[in-house]
């Protein structure tokens, strides 16, 4: 019947116009879903490292899609080719779309040339999570580390990305730092570009 369904049918998902990305869902809906992701993966592993790896994999899949989506929607189909460009894309554009704000800080590692850190006082995915003592250094931020790795990898900047808790003086909860260690080839290319 004409005019009954509000939404037009598209036979192919690619024919559908790209949304502006302004739609929202409740934070609880996301928190519930994320908690199920963590709990399900917990049943599939027998150690912390494996659990973090699986969360990172899930994040990677998100990151790869976010890169494509944002380059298309916000950057007129151009993507960054320089190291600082892609880092600030992650720290500002990606963070803003996914978490509603720019990340608290982006720093260069002092000891190693190839390391960068994105820090967040209260990372969204860690907000409703408490880590039992026997799970030691486990960090749900592994999911966000995976997102970052997905974006970087897709843009041609392969890196090892990990999430860590860093205690902050005078603060009850530690902040989360996403540590990015770029592959050698990335730095060589960057040096060549001058």
């Amino acid at each position: 019947m004409i005019g009954v369904g509000k939404i037009k049918q598209y036979s192919n998902v690619l024919d559908k116009p790209l949304s502006k990305g302004k739609q929202e869902v409740s934070l609880s809906a996301f928190a519930f879903l994320f908690s199920e992701l963590v709990q399900y993966n917990q049943t599939q592993v027998d150690n912390i490292a494996e659990l973090e790896r699986r969360l990172e994999d899930a994040g990677y899949a998100v990151g790869a899609r976010v890169l494509e989506l944002l380059c298309h929607r916000d950057k007129g189909n151009r993507r960054e080719t320089r190291l600082l460009g892609i880092l600030s894309f992650v720290h500002s554009t990606v963070w803003k779309v996914l978490f509603g704000k720019v990340a608290d800080s982006l720093e260069k590692g002092t000891e190693h040339e190839d390391e960068y850190m994105i820090s967040e006082k209260e990372l969204l995915v860690n907000r409703f999570i408490s880590i039992p003592k026997d799970m030691g250094t486990f960090n749900c931020g592994a999911f966000v580390a995976g997102i970052v790795r997905g974006v970087l990898d897709g843009a041609g900047f392969p890196a090892v990305v990990t999430a860590h808790f860093v205690p902050v003086e005078g603060q009850h909860r530690p902040r989360t730092t996403i540590l990015i260690k770029f592959a050698e080839e990335v730095l060589r290319r960057e040096a060549r570009l001058g």
Binding site: I7, G21, L27, F30, D57
Partner: protein
Amino acid sequence: MPPVGPRSGDAIFANIERVNAELFTLTYGAIVRQLLTDLEEVEEVNKQLDQMGYNIGIRLIDEFLAKSNVSRCVDFKETAEVIAKVGFKMFLGVTASVTNWDADGTCCSIVLEDNPLVDFVELPDTCQGLYYCNILSGVVRGALEMVSMKTEISWIRDMLRGDDAFELQVKLLKQIPEEYPYKDDE
């Protein structure tokens, strides 16, 4: 004084913390993809999604009751309306409608025209048996079970399968009478 009487889904949604729907959508997609890789069988994935939804539903009902001021519904009809108008709005920001009641008022359909779970999604040929949004049916089933209603929920229409909307059929199997010890503190 907090307002008395049920609050509208829109009012609640406007006042709670929200996140970008794309983060939610893509995270859900990552979950479905993990399940497909792990479990291999589409049927098993449907089951696992339903189970995850159920786990969410039994927890989500607390937040729902706390924030909506909805008290005991007089009948299943009111329950269905509340799920569609308040529940879906409050958590997913979308409005659903209730239709197709059977004669004795124990079976109806909740229809969604907009569903944030399926943005960017296309079902490949290998996944035709997948109920992509099966987590939603689990949520509704789990939440209703916590208010003493045993239900059976099935998908009648699915936009990913070429239908014009999402239609969730909710069938009331039985209402479990509350027995001593009562679960609430009244």
